[in-house]
């Protein structure tokens, strides 16, 4: 960035916990890390339905939705979020998913339009870098 350029507004990210699972350790760590990296983070809290998540994303005008799912319900939940985003013409919102997602499911989710799937052990740095890069082209 040159000295004269205006600082760009922070990337807006919605971090959501869909499904019945209450294990929010990962979601909270990611939300803090993104915030520490200068992003504007909205954390939905627990037990959000796909409808609630997409409606919050619309209201908060986010560029990125991060979904944390550890219960194995990702194949029921994530495709529904993607479908709702397409229905509402929000296809440019990047969706990233973190949690216990087997490789073959990760492949299927990416084919459905998910920008990235982060499995256990993924570094916070790699997640921050991915989101920055994904938003670069749009800003």
């Amino acid at each position: 960035m040159s000295a004269q350029a205006l600082p760009s507004p922070p990337i807006r990210v919605l971090v959501a916990k869909p499904g019945l699972d209450g294990h929010d350790r990962g979601a909270k760590i990611i939300a803090r890390a993104l915030r520490d990296a200068g992003m504007e983070v909205i954390y939905t809290g627990l037990r959000q339905t796909p409808e609630m998540i997409v409606s919050a994303a619309l209201q908060e005008d986010v560029e990125v939705i991060g979904l944390s799912i550890l219960s194995g319900a990702h194949m029921a939940i994530v495709p529904r979020v993607m479908e709702l985003l397409r229905e509402k013409d929000m296809g440019d919102v990047k969706v990233v998913v973190g949690g216990i997602i087997p490789d073959e499911d990760a492949g299927a989710l990416k084919r459905d339009g998910v920008a990235a799937v982060f499995q256990p052990g993924a570094s916070l740095e790699s997640i921050v870098a991915f989101i920055r890069e994904a938003c670069r082209g749009k800003r």
Binding site: H23, D24, V41, A73, P102
Partner: protein, 530 residues
Amino acid sequence: MKAAERPFTTISGVPIEPVYGPEHLAGMDAARDLGAPGAFPYTRGIHRDMYRGKLWTMRQFSGFATPEETNRRYHYLLEQGQTGLSVAFDLPTLMGYDADHPLSEGEVGKCGASVSSLEDAEILFRGIPLGEVTVSMTINSPAAVLWAMYLAVAEQQGVEWSRVSGTLQNDILKEYIAQKEYIFPPRPSMRLVTDTIEFGARHVPRFNPISVSGYHIREAGSTAVQELAFTLRDGFEYVDWALERGLSIDEFAPRLSFFFNAHNDFFEEIVKYRAARKIWAYAMRERYGARSERSWKLRFHAQTAGCSLTWQQPYNNVVRTALQAMAAVLGGAQSLHTNSLDEAYALPSEQAVTIALRTQQILAHESGVANTADPLGGSYFVEKRTLETEEAANRYIQQIDQMGGMIAAIEAGFPQAEIAAASYRYQREIETGERTIVGVNRYQSGDQPIELLEIDERAAEHQAAKLAALRRRRSSARVTETLDALKRAAEGAENTMPRLLDAVRAYATLGEICEALRSVFGAYQETPRL
């Protein structure tokens, strides 16, 4: 990394000295601080002969898909020499939803067995003599309902409740603090817990109505001291409520049980268990005036740390689990669950769970650690760290006392914020490489493929079909009548257990019962905080 650059701190960040000696124990009083094994304050264990008299119970937590499939796994585990059962329920069951509820979509049978009615409980325990096998049930918000189902199955088997033994987790406070599987607000939830403690003391005297749990607090990222302090303070809260109900301390305290994590830092875990027994013994005797020795003794189950298992190089998890299990044994656990190597991925396969059970059998029969009580007692390091851990936990306990107790602390978000800060700090340490996780941030190598258990998607259909048939078969009039009676009991002050028993015997479903209670108690929503 040079030796000087490695941090000499425990996994919870406590600094450790290069060597410990008699000068570290200057203020220690052996009678006050240690006692003998089996004697107050039980720092060295609750039994004089410890594992020589009886080995710990090898109790693998297990449950997946349908009750039919889980029942088969139980028979397998018992045939392999497991000595107790421990039921894992799926998320819909834990949250009080039937398998065919819209919010259950995608979740049925994934994290445990699906149980929506007494019929499912009958299947779950088919062929398992409830008068002989002790069963632990990991269920919290709807614990009273599942316990009613369990007692109804015992009735059908012709087993007197006075002979039924086992443990209900039933620790709702740690749900608000850590695991977040709550349905109702804290106070009505505490009333249900108190109902079970009272009912147990009167009618099911060999059952532990509660297992006050630090496990999930630790899994949510707490330090060892936070796990210890929040768990014991939760225990005091249950005691306060039961006393308020009019029970006398020695009537119910002997049946309060505990559940702790066994994490990676070997000695930190051992001193945590030793300090736990000591703090509890003193609190029961002095804070609550318990006279019975049985009230003073803190009995606990331990489970190796699920959050320590790595997705990378999963076979390393066998080693982690063995070390953690050994810490639990050296710390004097009464029962133990060892995690399986594949649990960073999924519920364990039969092969993986067998290795986990064999790990306990090797500890018990080959390692020699069970030959003598508290083999580490008297170690300068262990005794000093036990004292330090006790002091640190007591500081937290006093802080929560000053806030007005655990419910007030939870409402203020205090334990939640302490845990979140600790968990973020730990993750940062891994991120910077300050803390090494083998195979994750150092010594990385290629993948090691493993075979995983897959949960058949048909489990949900199977459960839904069974529920539909049940609803056609049962008497709806009887269901309505028992649910109405339950609601009236919930609105008033009478113990809800007899009404819950009537409702489950009428085959009212878990979802219907929880909905009836929700209509009286309301639902809890946490304010999202980072």
